[in-house]
């Protein structure tokens, strides 16, 4: 079995519109990715049970099993990363999808290059090019093993999505220091996301639910004024 870094990434495309589904598969294959496509929610559930995928491109309005329900069943899994593709174009759908565990949200219509950029970005977060040097960051009951990419709370492993982990690690690598929103967005998501404050808020919210004793009074990921976030208490 080859290491994940070496094998071709597998992408599951869940989209009920045949033309778009075939176009997306063509785009993925042209970029050297391995693409499987299904046209309804039931087939998607079966596909996710029978094989392992690195990325799922998930349409929300699906026959038989709703995309929202599939998103709910994938929450908390390390892989696959989920990119929601939706034609509804409502801002609150985006916020809801991110809150429910999607790693990214792509509004239809999109070009092949935008799609591939997003797929590469979630793959990059799931498989870092350079692993961290051995180091452990701690705050209260939360412990982050940066080399093993494992997060524990009270000694029990917390399951984080790749993006959640990358954001947390970015903060934890320099504990007590303020990370401003725009830098975090650029570092975790990429340069085109610097204005996507909604992403940052959604993921901080998700991390707080998993890590904080009291998410309303966070101590692990602390809001610092209007500028940014900090891991743990302020550094002196």
């Amino acid at each position: 079995v080859s290491a994940p870094e070496e094998r071709t990434a597998a992408v599951l495309v869940v989209e009920d519109d045949r033309v778009l589904r075939e176009a997306v598969v063509a785009a993925l294959e042209s970029a050297g990715l391995q693409a499987t496509a299904v046209g309804d929610g039931l087939a998607a559930v079966k596909a996710l049970e029978s094989a392992q995928y690195d990325v799922v491109l998930l349409d929300l309005g699906l026959p038989f099993v709703d995309g929202w329900r599939i998103l709910g069943t994938l929450e908390g899994r390390r892989i696959p990363s989920v990119i929601v593709i939706s034609a509804r174009g409502e801002e609150r759908d985006k916020v809801r999808a991110l809150d429910m565990g999607a790693d990214d949200y792509l509004a239809k219509p999109f070009g092949a290059e935008e799609l591939l950029a997003r797929v590469r970005a979630v793959l990059r977060r799931a498989r870092p090019a350079a692993p961290d040097a051995p180091a452990v960051a701690r705050c209260g009951a939360v412990e982050i093993d940066l080399a093993a990419r494992v997060v524990r709370r009270d000694g029990v492993e917390v399951r984080l999505s790749p993006t959640e982990y990358v954001l947390l690690a970015e903060l934890a690598r320099s504990p007590g220091i303020v990370h401003d929103h725009r830098t975090l967005l650029r570092q975790v998501w990429g340069p085109t996301y610097a204005g996507e404050l909604g992403y940052l808020r959604a993921f901080v919210h998700r991390l707080r639910i998993k890590l904080e004793e009291d998410a309303a009074h966070p101590e692990v990921i602390v809001t610092v004024g209007r500028q940014g976030y900090r891991f743990g208490p302020a550094a002196h």
């Binding site: 509804r88 219509p109 808020r201």
Partner: protein, 389 residues
């Protein structure tokens, strides 16, 4: 007049009448002369009874006593003394006085009963009036309830029509975007295939360009429908205008990389806005400026304090400016300064969004007589506003 003083006056009148009525009767009888006293005793009983009925027990007893003395003095032997010679007269007078007392008592009891009845009738009247009032109030309450129910029904209908409209917009959006997505993704894949002849790839790229343009038009038309149907869903909070302007400048940079945008916003300039919609306002203003100004020129986003607690944001370009005949119409639908590839809705959406935030949009005088300056105002947020979570 207080009830107390009325009662006292009534009592005084009773005593005066109780004395004067028997005296008057006696005067009449004495003037008539030579009459047997016992023949007239019943007249005194009448007076006592009348006083008992009209004025109560005390005047009746006083009248009986007065009558007793007057009869004794004027009509009982020996006359003109208060002594009584015969035993028969003593009995007569005692019977008279007792009968007067009984009659007076009965009269006064009847009077009391009458007073009580009157009081009861009064209370009944009050109770009736109270009942009527309650009835009226109940009727009014019922009318209000009916009006309320009608209003609730109207609100439900409005909510229902609002929901239908939202669903319609979402469906239209979905139905238009899904085929567009197929076209755009497929043509961009084709345009990126190196093995295809160049003219085919060029055609695919221009189809993709048209699909993007259609997609923008769909998005803008849906936004316009939301603005005009008052179905915008704004999540208002204190937003750092500098952050929003820099983010918008970044987005313009990925759209036209050669363009420089100078952001001149004082630190901690906070406005009350929806982050995403503020981004859209700035994007549209920047895209508009980008479309009409020469590539080498820069665009400036400037912010400053306005009147009445507003922040004024100006987007300044150094292009050809807005033709005089268009100045009053730039915020209208499908008014375009040229074939710049826009949807013709960008500035109409800017105005709609700004007004939904409680602000205004207008065309400013060009700076140094060059280019165009479009200004919008948004409500300022207090400096100590709660930061986002």
């Amino acid at each position: 007049m207080t009830p107390d003083s009325r009662r006292r006056r009534l009592w005084l009148l009773g005593v005066v009448l109780a004395v004067s009525a028997p005296v008057a009767l006696t005067a009449v009888l004495v003037a008539a002369g030579g009459v047997q006293a016992r023949d007239y005793v019943f007249l005194y009983l009448g007076v006592v009874a009348a006083l008992g009925v009209t004025l109560g027990l005390t005047p009746a007893l006083v009248a009986a006593g007065t009558g007793f003395l007057l009869v004794d003095y004027y009509f009982v032997q020996p006359l003109h003394t208060l002594t009584i010679a015969s035993r028969e007269d003593v009995v007569n007078l005692v019977v008279f006085f007792s009968a007067a007392g009984v009659i007076g008592g009965l009269g006064s009891r009847r009077r009391r009963a009458q007073l009580r009845a009157e009081a009861l009738a009064g209370e009944l009247g009050d109770a009736n009036r109270e009942l009527e009032r309650l009835g009226r109030e109940q009727a009014e309450a019922a009318a209000v309830a009916v009006r309320l129910a009608r209003t609730e029904q109207q609100v439900r209908l409005l909510e229902e029509s609002d929901r239908v409209r939202r669903e319609f917009l979402a469906t239209v959006s979905h139905e238009l975007r899904t085929p567009l997505a197929g076209v755009l993704t497929a043509t961009t894949v084709l345009a990126g295939r190196p093995e295809l002849p160049a003219p085919v790839r060029d055609d695919a790229a221009s189809i993709a360009g048209q699909a993007r343009r259609l997609s923008r038009l769909v998005g803008d038309m849906l936004d316009m429908a939301r603005i005009e149907g008052n179905t915008l869903d704004l999540r208002l909070e204190a937003v750092d205008l500098g952050d929003a302007a820099v983010a918008a400048a970044d987005r313009l940079h990925s759209h036209s990389p050669q363009r420089t945008v100078d952001v001149d916003v004082p630190p901690d300039t906070l406005v009350v806005a929806d982050w995403d919609r503020l981004g859209q306002i700035l994007d549209n203003l920047l895209l508009n400026a980008d479309r009409f100004a020469p590539v080498q020129s820069s665009i400036t986003v400037r912010a400053g304090e306005g009147a009445r607690g507003m922040v004024v944001i100006r987007v300044v370009d150094r292009g050809g400016g807005i033709p005089a005949e268009l100045r009053d119409h730039v915020f209208e639908h499908f008014v375009r300064g040229g074939d710049g590839g826009g949807t013709g809705l960008g500035l109409a959406i800017v105005r709609g969004l700004v007004e939904a935030h409680g602000g205004r949009a207008w065309v400013d005088e060009p700076e140094e007589g060059v280019g165009a300056t479009i200004a919008v105002s948004l409500p300022a947020a207090p400096a100590d506003a709660e930061p986002p979570p």
